[in-house]
Symmetry: C2
Subunit: 320 residues, 2 copies
């Protein structure tokens, strides 16, 4: 069984920790910079019995543990995470991460992608950004289905998420409960945003061999038509319940790849993929794939595959 | 670009030939034992201009060509195909095949699977059985979706195929147009049957780490409720329009994997997958994935991946 170091103990990281323990995966270290977590016993933090694993406040201390892979769930920004990724690679450990921009860094950070790939190969380890979105439902699954087509004119994926059923962080970053003015301000400051759509567009384009001229992204608020609430947040009628974000992969004036993400409280969750091609494909997942539960599972399921993979930077495209 | 040898020029093989030519893949040889095809120019057989490739009546002659991979679409039986697979491997060429029993030979032919795997590794080539069913819609896609689950109680896939839209061979092997008596006789003699369901059940079980006690398979006729016809065959009311075939992966008395295949003229085509687990997943492809068109595409799309793969026996599980 593989030994892992958990780096980041938010809801996703804690979920991975619990599932890993259930499956008998050995946790050899845990890291979280939050002062409420660092120094505590991991088991107690998870609401379990003591595990004898003290959460380290920094990555450096933990990296001396004998582990095969670091499981990271801290931030969405690849620029922010790069120094930690470099440390993990230099410690000759594999890395799997929920960092959205790492899911397909060739999109917006080709130089970082190249640096990570080269260093990982030199050190004989693999690095992968993974998750449900980006990483599965709006990209990998599109490519998997597209594998049965002899030609493709257009690929469209729509993900509708009822954020009421999700973690509070997601409600916050989709603007739930805000006034329209607060939403506009949050949008400008980059606080309101799902990270990952351009990554998914580029992954699909590269997988299908389509050269895009441009990726266009836009976000608009969803206004609550009646009062709607989760266990954390209430959005009164007229306030923001969430957002609708669109990314288009353009070839000339034609959106050959169209990704639509609706995330708001009270939405009817559903994932769908339409491919116009030979043959046409129209897929629907009623109720959608639950972002948090499934990301925890997906990451945990991928751990042995990332450890076994050939060295370098991997993406979900390698699994489609 | 890779060079290929086509082995089998039925509807699927001819479709692959046409798509390969469209994509600029070099066809370096073609084989078909049928006396109407052997000795003819491949281009003329495909209804195109002459290609200067004369169809060989046997595999041996063609294997001296300088090609990366043999693309086989001849028979469903792995026992029948094994001698040809051995020849291809000994000629140090990769192989991709529509042979249903090769899609997951670990199910019913573990010794053959081991022989092929060992010989392929020794010769540095890859061998894979592929197609839409088995190979995609009732197994690989189940495993791909299951990758987002932390636990699974039961997996169910249902494929409904309107055989009126498909090739005549499929209508024949599903009994379309027969009387109930002829159907029963055909079933006993093994002429009426879709090959591949136990392969799919075993692939799913192995992919999910489930140890099955038994695989149960059953087939029953579908009786035409009114006259129904394709361009090839007519089934009058009361006659057979096709079949319903079920394979169950049993753990004790519980069918933990349930695959249902309905193939009859006039059916409303649809593929669906239900996973009972954490989270539950319910997927549907309206109109289904077209078996012939998509098998041609899938095989052609997989050619470069099989050539690049590490040596040995591959299955769709490696791509899930």
């Amino acid at each position: 069984m593989s030994g892992i170091i958990l780096f980041g103990l938010g809801e996703i990281g804690s979920g991975i920790a619990r599932l890993a323990l259930e499956r008998g995966v050995e946790i050899r270290g845990a890291v979280d910079i939050h002062p409420d977590k660092a120094g505590k016993d991991l088991g107690e933090l998870l609401g379990l019995n003591s595990l004898g694993i003290i959460v380290s406040g920094g990555l450096d201390g933990a990296l001396s543990s004998d582990a095969d892979i670091v499981v990271n769930s801290t931030i969405s920004s690849l620029e922010g995470l790069e120094p930690d990724i470099i440390k993990v690679i230099n410690a000759r450990k594999n890395l799997i991460s929920t960092c959205e921009e790492l899911a397909y860094p060739h999109a917006n950070h080709p130089e970082i992608a190249e640096r990570i790939d080269r260093l990982a190969r030199e050190n004989g380890v693999s690095v992968m950004g993974a998750g449900v979105n980006p990483g599965f439902v709006m990209d990998r699954l599109v490519l998997t289905l597209a594998g049965t087509c002899s030609s493709i004119k257009k690929a469209r994926a729509t993900r509708i998420v009822n954020t009421s059923e999700r973690r509070i962080n997601l409600q916050k970053k989709t603007g739930a409960g805000m006034s329209p003015t607060e939403f506009s301000a949050g949008l400008k400051e980059g606080r309101i945003r799902h990270v990952g759509l351009p990554e998914s567009v580029r992954m699909i384009a590269d997988g299908l061999g389509i050269r895009l001229d441009e990726i266009r992204e836009s976000t608009e608020p969803v206004i609550a038509e009646e009062d709607v609430e989760s266990s954390h947040i209430k959005a009164e009628k007229g306030m923001i319940s969430g957002l609708k974000q669109v990314a288009l992969g353009m070839k000339g004036n034609e959106p050959v790849i169209a990704l639509e993400l609706h995330m708001y409280m009270g939405a009817e969750s559903c994932d769908s993929i339409q491919i116009e091609g030979t043959p046409d494909i129209s897929m629907k997942i009623n109720g959608g794939i639950h972002g948090d539960v499934a990301t925890v599972a997906l990451i945990t399921n991928l751990i042995p595959r990332v450890i076994d993979a050939k060295p370098g930077l991997l993406t979900a495209r390698d699994f489609a």
